[in-house]
Structure formats: C-alpha cells, structure tokens
C-alpha cells in the first residue's frame, strides 16, 4: 500500500513531536479536516500492519503518537533498564483511583474512602508525577488539593479522564450519601464470589 501525501505528513508530524499531537493540531498543520485526518491515521496504521511493522499510532492523553507494539516490550525494556520506575503499589493505585474520580480532592477525602493514612502513597504519586498539587481548598486549614496529570493519562493509556473505567457510574456513586444509596436501588447485587 502506498501512502498518500496527507497520511505521510501526519506520520511525519507525529513521529517528530515530543508530545502527543491532538487532532486539532494535526488539522492545523496539514490544513485538512478532522475526518480526513482520522482516515489518514487509519491508512497509516493499516500500512504498518500490512508490512508487519513493530510500530503503530495510538491515541493517548488527548493526542496521537507513534508507539511500539506491546509484544516487543521485553526487548525494548532493555534500553531503559534501571531507569524505568517500577510498577505502582496497590496503595498507590487505590489512592490514584480515588484522586482520578474525585479530583480535585484533599488527602482527607482520599483517606475517608480508603480508611487508611495515605501520606506515603500521595508522596509516591507526586514524585512519579501521576498527581500534582492543583490548589488549596478554602476551608479551615486550607488543605492541599490534588489532581491527576497528563503523565497519568499516558501511563495508563487513557486518552482523557472520561475514558476512566466506569466513569459515569462512579461519579454518581460519589455524589450519593449513605441514605440515598439505601433508597435508590442503584446497584444490582453482584455475586460476591
């Protein structure tokens, strides 16, 4: 398959960019409409697949970038041995989950959901730049507010926050008080195996 001019322009832009390129940036730089960009992206990925390349264009953190196929993870990881940080702990993942759905939120609100002290988990997440301090709550003590970063989206391969798993269900769950939760038979009772 021979790629047309537009597809090759898109490919060049995405390859050369440090950050994920958004659809509007791609439109601007190529002078094309969104539909043509999407079709161009499809053509590039098809070309990659047809020729068994180890690369593909993925959508992440609100933009597009070229990435290696996951089956080459082992071989590529050798390049970054000792540099790549380890996997996040369960405490960190739980804390991150709470922050992601209720951001901006305070340490207190994370702790009230998890039922444990989250100091060190929050510190780890700040160091890993998964979350950032996004302000202070105007209540007594002015506690710090935390939000997730675009590094968080990239790390988990999310194109934006709406793509978090079960986003709407959990947004609603968070807004309910305990009595409202009782009244509204929101949840089918899943088998707790």
């Amino acid at each position: 398959m021979i790629l047309d001019r537009l597809a090759r322009e898109v490919e060049a832009l995405i390859f050369a960019s440090d950050e994920p390129l958004s659809i509007s940036q791609l439109c601007e730089y190529t002078g094309s409409g969104e539909d043509s960009i999407h079709q161009a992206l499809d053509r590039i990925n098809r070309a990659f697949r047809d020729q068994h390349h180890a690369l593909g264009i993925i959508e992440v953190a609100g933009g597009f970038r070229i990435a290696t196929e996951s089956e080459f993870g082992d071989v590529v990881s050798q390049l970054f041995e000792g540099k790549k940080p380890g996997k996040l702990s369960r405490a960190a993942l739980e804390t991150l989950a709470v922050v992601a759905y209720s951001q901006p939120c305070t340490r207190m609100s994370v702790e009230s959901i998890r039922g444990v002290n989250c100091d060190s988990a929050i510190r780890t997440l700040l160091e890993r730049e998964m979350i950032r301090i996004s302000g202070r709550m105007e209540t007594p003590g002015r506690p710090l507010l935390y939000s997730t970063t675009s590094a968080f989206l990239e790390y988990f391969g999310l194109s934006n926050l709406d793509h978090l798993p079960r986003y709407e269900e959990i947004e609603e769950l968070l807004s309910l008080s305990s009595s409202e939760m009782e009244e509204r038979d929101l949840f089918e009772r899943p088998e707790d195996n």
Partner: protein, 255 residues
C-alpha cells in the same frame, strides 16, 4: 483479581496461624475480606458476626505482637459500638436514628468500587508498560531533565532540587582568602594625620566613607591603644553614640 490464596490459608486456631495484616490495605480491606470469606451479602451485613470476626482478627494480631495501625483499632471500636446498638431494643421514638449499618455499607461499597478500579488500572499499567512511545515519559525517568516553565514549579520541585543539592558531593573549590594586614603602627601613622591637634574629631570621620570591616576593627583597636598611652581623649556621651577623639599634648612628646 486480587490474590486471595494467602488469605485463605489463614486460620484462627493452631500455632500455624498466619496473620498477614500487612497484606491488607487498611481496615476496610480486611472487612471486605472477612465478608467475602464468610459469604456475607454486603447489603445485609450481620453486624454482630462481622464485629466478632474482625475483633478476633485484631486481637490475634496483637497477641502475636504485630503492630496494629490505629485505623484498625478505630474500626474495631466502631464495629463494637454498632454491635451493641444492634443488640439493644430499638426505641419507639427513635425513628430518625440513622441505621448504623448504612454508613458502613456505603464505605464498603465505595471502597470496594475503588479497589476494583485500582485493579483495572493495574491491568492497564501492565499493558501499557510494554508499549514505548513517549519521549516525554522517558525524560521523566531521568532525574535531571525536568524542565519547569516559569510559574509551573511546585513546592515539591523545590524540595526535590534541595534534596539533589544535598546529595551532590560538596566540591569545595580551592579558595585563597586575601588577608589585608593593618598593623597598629601603620594605623597610628594614619590616625596621626586624621586626628590633627585641636578640636575633637568623630570616629566616623576618621574611618572615612567606605570603611572595611578590617579597617574599622584595626582603627578601633588602635584608638584603644592610643587611649592607653594617653595620646588621645576618648569620649562617648551615651551608648552607641558617636565617639569623639581628641589629641592630647602627649602624642608629640612620646617617641
């Protein structure tokens, strides 16, 4: 799904009992484990039973000298209170008294939901850690490359910078400190010109406009020496006021 095999090997009886409080992410996690183990419906929790199980677990942990975090103890107290309420007959007029189980249910359901999300995130992490794409991401792995735009630095950035400073080996460049030597006899010569016979002169005038620390100290010591010799009079009306110096006749007399 989380690995429960280690929990299942747990037993309250016998010396082989393994308590792995560390493997729980707090009291809610432990409670969810107990609820699941005893096949309890989360929407219909038998408070007395769960409270007993939970307290037994905690007591056992403390017997084994395991440091139990305070959060676990708070939950034990909450459960015990709920249990005692459940045992007491309900007051007729206590209609508006909130169901003590409702808040616990809410907490458990919320926590369980986020635990599931954390598991999903973990799966994404697994998948995405094998995909290499972003130069930005890779730059973050190396410590020094973080570029901060004006106004974007956080307190954490500053603390990190401070920490990296103290980690850096303190390489002290060899330095030669110039010492300007002013001997007392040199100063006496200088002061002879500056304190002419006749009316008193202030110490400030003697020092001149741009006096260095060395000169101030040297001149002051010299002034004291001159006073000792009786060559000048030294007057200060009140503390910290200007010092007045006046030459006496002895200056020219003594060799």
């Amino acid at each position: 799904m989380r690995d429960t095999s280690s929990h299942d090997s747990f037993s309250f009886r016998g010396p082989s009992c393994r308590i792995e409080l560390d493997s729980f992410e707090g009291p809610l996690d432990l409670l969810l484990y107990l609820i699941r183990r005893d096949e309890i419906d989360i929407y219909d929790i038998p408070v007395a039973h769960v409270a007993d199980q939970y307290c037994r677990y905690i007591r056992r942990a403390r017997e084994l000298d395991i440091d139990v975090a305070s959060e676990y103890l708070v939950m034990a107290a909450t459960l015990t209170r709920m249990k005692s309420r459940a045992l007491l007959p309900r007051r007729r007029d206590g209609e508006d008294e909130p169901d003590p189980g409702a808040e616990l249910r809410r907490q458990l359901i919320l926590y369980r939901t986020f635990r599931e999300i954390a598991e999903e995130l973990q799966r994404s992490e697994e998948t995405w850690s094998d995909i290499y794409s972003s130069p930005g991401e890779r730059e973050r792995w190396s410590v020094d490359s973080t570029q901060v735009e004006p106004g974007q630095a956080s307190l954490l950035d500053l603390l990190k910078a401070l920490a990296s400073l103290s980690e850096e080996e303190a390489t002290v460049l060899p330095q030669r400190i110039q010492r300007t030597l002013l001997t007392i006899s040199e100063c006496i010569d200088a002061l002879e010109r500056k304190i002419p016979p006749g009316s008193p002169v202030s110490f400030g005038t003697v020092l001149g406009p741009e006096a260095t620390a060395t000169r101030i100290v040297s001149y002051f010591v010299t002034v004291l020496e001159l006073v000792r010799r009786g060559w000048i009079l030294f007057q200060q009306p009140y503390p910290f006021s200007e010092i007045q110096l006046q030459r006496t006749e002895r200056w020219s007399v003594d060799p």
